[in-house]
Amino acid sequence: MPEVFSRRTLLAGAGLLAAPALIRSAHAEETFILGTWGGDYQRLQMENIEKPIASKLGIASVVDVADELPRVAKIMASRRLPRGQMDVACVQAVQAYSMAEAGVLEELTPDKVPNIAHVKAGLGMTCFAPHIWSPQILSYNPERVKSPPTSFAELADPKYKDKVGFPDVNYFYVMMAASLYASGTSTDFVKAKELLTKVNANGLHLYPSTDAGGPPFKSGEIDVGVMWLARIAMWQNAGIPVAAAFPKEGCILYVSGMVVPKNAPNKKAAFAYINAMLEPAAQIGFAEHMGYLPTVTTATLTGKVAKQLAMPDPEPKLMPPDFAVTSKALPDVTDWWKKTIQHV
């Protein structure tokens, strides 16, 4: 391969320079480097995984906070180094898929991570331990919408004219949902484009962040939208009049989890940490605080959160994205979104 990945080489260099800052004074316990998002997610990781479970195993994380793409770039850039920069990296399933394709990830098997055996079917991959997941549902204001929407196509219904909206950052998942309605698969973007064009013409509101997608339900700006079930629970807890409706065509899944690079310096600790993450207690903690569903069959929700996150009966079709197709389609869909949907 004659090409040189100059920006990755550069990032690797930057990573090496930054490395000393990451090394905490050595305690008796074994440290490992955890690449993750900042904010609530990292706080909950500390409170639900590390403090109650992992620390008893004698491991402690050194946290490398960054956005997902720089984290992925860092792993890709240092993949040829004998000793990598990270032991555990938190990524979405789609990123895990492409990194696994590139062959930079360690396989996670029950002999390394025993709890992997309990992972629900359809969420995991050979190199990926799913941490949290949430189905994409139709959100609506139960005070104003008397009969809940039943399919994605209703977003284009004139009765919701100027009352449809969702956060712009989820555009790709919305496209997959449209495809699911139109074709039964998550990857027919030609049909998805047709449907989204109609939704857009119906007076679609876009919001610049996930957080900004909630208040419009309260202010009456929108009545229906597309969201993660997890967010609905959070918004309900914040007093926003919003409820979830499961579309009859099924739900695209948001799955986020953890991976271990092949050149991770402390794989033993990494496996132990991931195993702790899959413990029922840790899983239930995330459900209670962020509204995400447990990824293991061993964890059972109870009380209010169980009600908020309950699946209808019969359980709807749950469909993880088809990563092999989506990663290839992403640039085209992104460009189309920018120039068609975002363009007034």
Binding site: E3, V4, S6, L206, G220
Partner: protein
């Protein structure tokens, strides 16, 4: 002795120059190099030399429109900045009040708060059922400013105005008040004295602060994203979109270069707006 002088000067300038070259020129050169590469979905960036990224920008009307919006917003903000900042700066420069330092503090105060936080403040004002909308509701009407060009202009204006007032105030303070008195003594009314004497002398400084505001406006990111919403397109958010959402580093590098070149070009053209004899 004379021979040694340039050497000594070079010695003094050397460290600063090399820091600038290292910290500014080198990354720019790398960025430019990236902009000539090719994007690929799996490999992300393939090293080559192609003008395709630039061609893409100049052949698609979408990007022209984004650039036009960016220039329009930046220029409008610059003009409004001058119009609003001028009287304020003039009063501040000429006041003999003992509250002057307090007034200065009030002008600078917004700079102590990050522009993103200030923008959130505007969001609370502009939002549906927000403060402005609620007040308008009392009169039976609606104010729906959120996610509009007006909101972006107001937001950017609030970010740039303190800089404008500060620079203009020092421009005015550099102009001897005796000149105004001399003009008035010769029969000029206060307003004629201002326009005939102070204004021409302040013009180069006014131009510089307008350019400062223009550059800040051209590169605005947080305000257009938060107040303009996803449908409002300006260059800096577009650069980030291509870089982060699309992972298309070569194209976002090209966008960054086009933005920078446009800003530089318009800035140097604006110089011709000031009559030659007034130039510093």
């Amino acid at each position: 002795m004379r021979q040694k002088l340039p050497l000594a000067a070079a010695g003094l300038l050397g460290p600063a120059t090399s820091v600038v070259v290292l910290m500014l020129a080198a990354p720019l050169a790398l960025l430019f190099r990236d902009s000539l590469n090719r994007f690929d979905v799996t490999e992300l960036m393939i090293e080559t030399v192609t003008a395709a990224n630039y061609t893409r920008f100049f052949t698609e009307t979408f990007y022209w429109e984004v650039l036009r919006t960016t220039i329009l917003v930046a220029a409008t903000v610059a003009v409004l900045c001058v119009a609003l900042g001028l009287p304020l700066a003039w009063r501040l420069a000429r006041t003999t009040s003992r509250w002057k330092s307090l007034m200065m503090l009030l002008v600078i105060l917004p700079l102590f708060i990050g522009s993103t936080v200030r923008t959130v403040g505007w969001m609370i004002l502009f939002a549906r059922n927000g403060m402005m909308d609620s007040v308008a509701g009392l009169f039976g009407t609606r104010v729906d400013l959120m996610y509009t060009t007006t909101a972006v202009i107001i937001g950017t204006l609030s970010v740039n105005l303190p800089f404008m007032v500060l620079t203009l105030q020092s421009v005015f303070e550099g102009i001897d008040d005796r000149l105004t008195e001399a003009a008035q003594g010769l029969g000029a009314t206060p307003s004629r004295a201002f326009w005939r004497v102070v204004w021409p002398l302040a013009l180069p400084g006014v131009m510089i602060s307008a350019i400062l505001s223009f550059i800040l406006g051209m590169n605005a990111y947080a305000t257009p994203v938060l107040l303009g919403g996803p449908r409002f397109q300006m260059m800096a958010p577009l650069v980030f979109w291509e870089f982060n959402t699309n992972s298309n580093w070569p194209f976002s590098a090209a966008l960054a270069f086009i933005l920078m070149a446009t800003t530089l070009l318009l800035t140097s053209l604006s110089n011709f707006l000031v009559p030659r004899r007034y130039r510093a």
